[in-house]
């Protein structure tokens, strides 16, 4: 079946199921957000939100930062997609960030933001996010809200179960959604069962600039969907959901939905690391790129990597177990105590909860059903802590409030269900608008949830906002979970598709913000630090123009001597040392994006003029009262012209050059 038809069918099924569910409801939608909701989300002008919330941009490839509880969009951070708005992935300094062994990729699909952790709680240093299509993980620095590092994941396709972190922040993971031949070679697709494998990658992530694949575990050819690390007693274990344990390779919608139970894979990663240290892993040739932006030069470079350590579970006894779980489980979420493993079966009629204590006992008792590729399958009853009965339809993800309650998103019945850990009884439910995917409670996947709010991230908005043609924005809904009953507070549209989000108290981030880059420490080799250093140089057919931007002019601003056939590099340095004073640079006919220059930063535009004539350039970021005057001209002459190379600097700069020491 074509993807389109699958989507259509899924939507029809959703609509029928959702319709049947809503038919039972009597509460009119208009009364759902009422009372003091407005005052709870009102952040007066000039006041700050309580939380930063990082929402994945989904198919935009980026991360959007919203304030909570206001729902105000604070920033879009470019990560896996080119961003003409600020030149990310276009200018010469940042191009390397999007490099892969497949070449430069201008786009990806970002799914799961993950805050870095220390001792099982977010520390506000970094945000990680995965690329789902061409598997990669990125690290965003939270003092600058910029992507500093991207690591490609080899031997993988569909990096969906990613980039979840261990409580100590040592590793983040990336597991393959698609199993593929490893190494990836030309085989018949029908040979799926013989040739296709999955991998679980453990990535060292605790040192900036040194992200690397510590090891990969070779797994049976299922689809690995999501993962979370254990904590407390289960620290040292990682849990991944699987579907398609049928190992179907066609019409998965039906053929991967046959088994009553799939698995949660429980991986003892500390044991895996020990086995790797003992030399039990193979050194497996694998090409992948590691891209890193040095914070001093702000120039990205690509490091070519050539191998990984690949570990087979059969060579490391006790590294992995399968926990049978109904049915096609999606999210796997560990409660704050680390005892309960909640797996949400998309097609299950219950939410099964496994017990880590029982799992350990089952392993000790060897209560195995069978063994798959060296991985023992534990008996369902021997690991089950309990089941949440009649939770709703289509459970996907669960987070926790730290007060003994779990909150599960229900895609098909479009609602959030609150239930009690231990008794497994449903205590409250509230509709979402519509078709909720992930939900998020600030710190809701950590040892110490901050609680207070819950954010639902929805796929369909239909009638929620003023219509905008066939494609409507996706959305988020904010709920107050401080009381017994969940209350809807706010509903706001989002960029791209917010698959998942994380939130952190603003106090952990806001006072660490960089306000400008030190010009004195600018290590870009083409940086200049004053107007008088502005110049133009020729080397064969290459022309380099070093230019400063400051309120409200460029220097030089009149450039002559460029010829057809030349390749021109504009190296523009914003020499301001003042917060939020940015400049931009664009020139007529350039086949690339503008440059946006943060204070103290150097950015380079490559330009190959194609016609002789005069080319105006100007500042694109409204910088000052005379922003509109911040402009200049570049003259392009025919090849072989006698026009001399010249770059006029301003009168002020000429004075600086002629009398540098004199008081001005």
């Amino acid at each position: 079946m074509s993807p389109t038809r699958r989507v259509v069918l899924a939507v029809v099924a959703t609509a029928i199921a959702g319709g049947a569910f809503f038919a039972c409801r009597t509460v009119p939608a208009t009364t759902l957000a009422g009372g003091d909701a407005a005052s709870k989300v009102y952040v007066p002008p000039g006041s700050y939100d309580e939380f930063y919330s990082f929402m994945s941009g989904g198919f935009s490839g980026q991360v959007a930062v919203y304030g909570l509880p206001s729902g105000r969009l604070l920033k879009v951070i470019p990560v896996f997609s080119q961003n003409p708005e600020n030149g990310y992935g276009y200018n010469e300094e940042s191009k390397a960030m999007l490099q892969t062994t497949f070449g430069s990729i201008p786009w990806d699909d970002s799914h799961h933001p993950e805050l870095s952790m220390t001792d099982g709680v977010p520390d506000g240093r970094w945000l990680f996010i995965n690329a789902n299509n061409t598997p990669r993980v990125a690290r965003i620095d939270l003092t600058r809200f910029e992507t500093d590092e991207i690591l490609q994941i080899p031997n993988a396709a569909g990096g969906h179960a990613s980039p979840f972190t261990t409580p100590d922040g040592k590793y983040i993971v990336s597991a393959t959604r698609f199993s593929v031949p490893i190494p990836n070679t030309d085989v018949p697709i029908e040979s799926y069962k013989q040739n296709f494998k999955g991998t679980l990658s453990f990535i060292t992530a605790d040192q900036p600039g040194k992200m690397d694949i510590a090891f990969q575990i070779l797994m049976p050819g299922y689809d690995y969907d999501l993962g979370h690390a254990g904590k407390g007693p289960s620290d040292g274990w990682f849990f991944f959901t699987t579907y398609n344990t049928e190992q179907a390779n066609t019409k998965l919608e039906e053929n991967a939905s046959k088994n009553d139970k799939d698995y949660v894979a429980a991986v003892n990663y500390k044991k895996a690391a020990a086995c790797v240290a003992e030399g039990k892993a193979k050194t497996f040739p694998s090409e992948y790129d590691h891209n890193y932006t040095d914070p001093k030069s702000r120039i990205a470079t690509v490091e070519k990597k050539t191998s990984v350590k690949l570990l087979s579970p059969a060579d490391c006894e006790g590294v992995a177990y399968y926990l049978p779980t109904p049915k096609s489980p999606h999210g796997v979420d560990i409660d704050p105590t680390g005892e309960y493993i909640v797996a949400s079966g998309k097609l299950a009629t219950v939410i099964p909860v496994h017990s880590f204590t029982k799992m350990q006992k089952a392993i000790a008792d060897k209560a195995f059903e069978k063994t798959v590729d060296g991985i023992p399958v534990l008996k369902y009853e021997s690991v089950l802590a309990g089941e949440v009965q009649k939770p709703g339809l289509g459970p996907l993800h669960t987070e926790f409030d730290g007060k003994g309650y779990a909150y599960t998103s229900m895609f098909i019945s479009s609602e959030v269900v609150k239930w009690k850990l231990g008794t497994w009884e449903v205590v409250d439910r509230i509709p979402t608008y519509y078709s909720i995917g992930h939900l998020m409670i600030p710190g809701g996947d950590t040892k110490k949830p901050f609680g207070k709010y819950l954010v639902a991230m929805n796929k369909i908005t239909k009638d929620r906002y003023l219509p905008t043609g066939p494609e409507m924005a996706q959305s988020a809904q904010l709920y107050d979970i401080s009381g017994d009953k969940m209350k809807l507070l706010l509903d706001f549209p989002t960029i791209g598709e917010p698959h998942y989000a994380q939130a952190i108290p603003a106090s952990l981030i806001k006072d660490k913000q960089v306000k400008f880059h030190s010009l004195a420490e600018n290590k870009n080799p083409d940086a200049i630090r004053s107007e008088s250093e502005g110049r133009i140089t020729r080397n064969g057919k290459r022309v380099d123009i070093r230019m400063i931007a400051i309120r409200s002019h460029f220097a030089p601003d009149n450039i002559e001597g460029v010829q057809l056939g030349d390749t021109v590099y504009f190296h523009v340095t914003n020499i301001e040392q003042d917060w939020d004073i940015l400049h931009g640079f664009a020139i007529l006919g350039a086949n690339t994006s503008e440059l946006i220059l943060q204070p103290g930063e150097t950015r380079t535009m490559k330009w190959i003029p194609t016609r002789a004539g005069i080319y105006p350039f100007y500042c694109t970021d409204f910088c000052s009262a005379l922003h509109q005057e911040m402009q200049g001209y570049l003259r392009v002459s025919p090849a072989g012209t006698t026009v001399a190379l010249s770059a006029n600097v301003s009168k002020k700069a000429q004075q600086q050059i002629s009398a540098p020491a004199k008081a001005r």
Partner: protein
């Protein structure tokens, strides 16, 4: 002189010496775009921004109105003031040692004269920066507008509110002078009492 006025005088000299290590005056500039303010500190030896790049940014903004750059190396007084303060502190200590009331009179007069000269000079520089504008290159020209910040107090200069107040060093100078006057009063009363007796 008895012990108390000498101690007060020594204290005044110590405070004067401390002035060399503290900012004397502070000019704050606050505008809608600069809610956090730009600040300039005047010390005995130099003028600098309150934060690392404040002075550069003040100069950058001043180019719009044609004000010349504020550059500490072009202000000769900044080479003299530390000596003046040092001499005042040293002579104060010396007067305390010698304990002669007449010398104390002389010292206080010197102190007062130095203070007045300093403030007049400061005002003169403010006047110079505020009035002698490079109108040929000034970008923003408001007829009749000058940009002299106040000596003490606040004043609206286009979008900026300029606020000028003594900083720790300036306050120390004031206290030192009061201590000097107190020493003189006590010494004079003691002298009158001894004469009466």
């Amino acid at each position: 002189m008895s012990r108390l006025p000498r101690v007060l005088l020594l204290l005044a000299s110590a405070l004067l010496a401390l002035m060399l290590a503290t900012p004397l005056w502070r000019i704050q500039l606050i505008a809608p775009q600069y809610p956090e303010g730009l600040g300039m500190e005047i010390r005995a030896q130099t003028v600098h921004g309150e934060r690392e790049h404040d002075l550069d940014n003040i100069n950058e903004l001043n180019h719009y109105i044609g004000m010349k750059r504020i550059e500490p190396e072009s202000i000769p007084e900044l080479r003299i003031i530390p000596w003046a303060i040092g001499v005042l502190a040293a002579t104060g200590a010396l007067v305390a040692l010698l304990g002669r009331r007449r010398l104390l009179w002389a010292w206080l007069s010197l102190f007062a004269a130095a203070g007045v000269i300093g403030l007049v000079d400061f005002w003169r520089w403010e006047y110079d920066y505020g009035h002698h504008l490079d109108l040929e290159h000034a970008i923003i020209k408001v007829p009749g507008m000058t940009y002299q910040p106040p000596l003490i107090g606040s004043k609206q200069l286009l979008n900026f509110t300029a606020e000028s107040l003594p900083a720790i060093g300036g306050v120390l100078a004031g206290i030192a002078f009061v201590l000097g006057v107190a020493a003189l009063v006590i010494a004079s009363r003691a002298a009158r009492r001894s004469r009466a007796a």
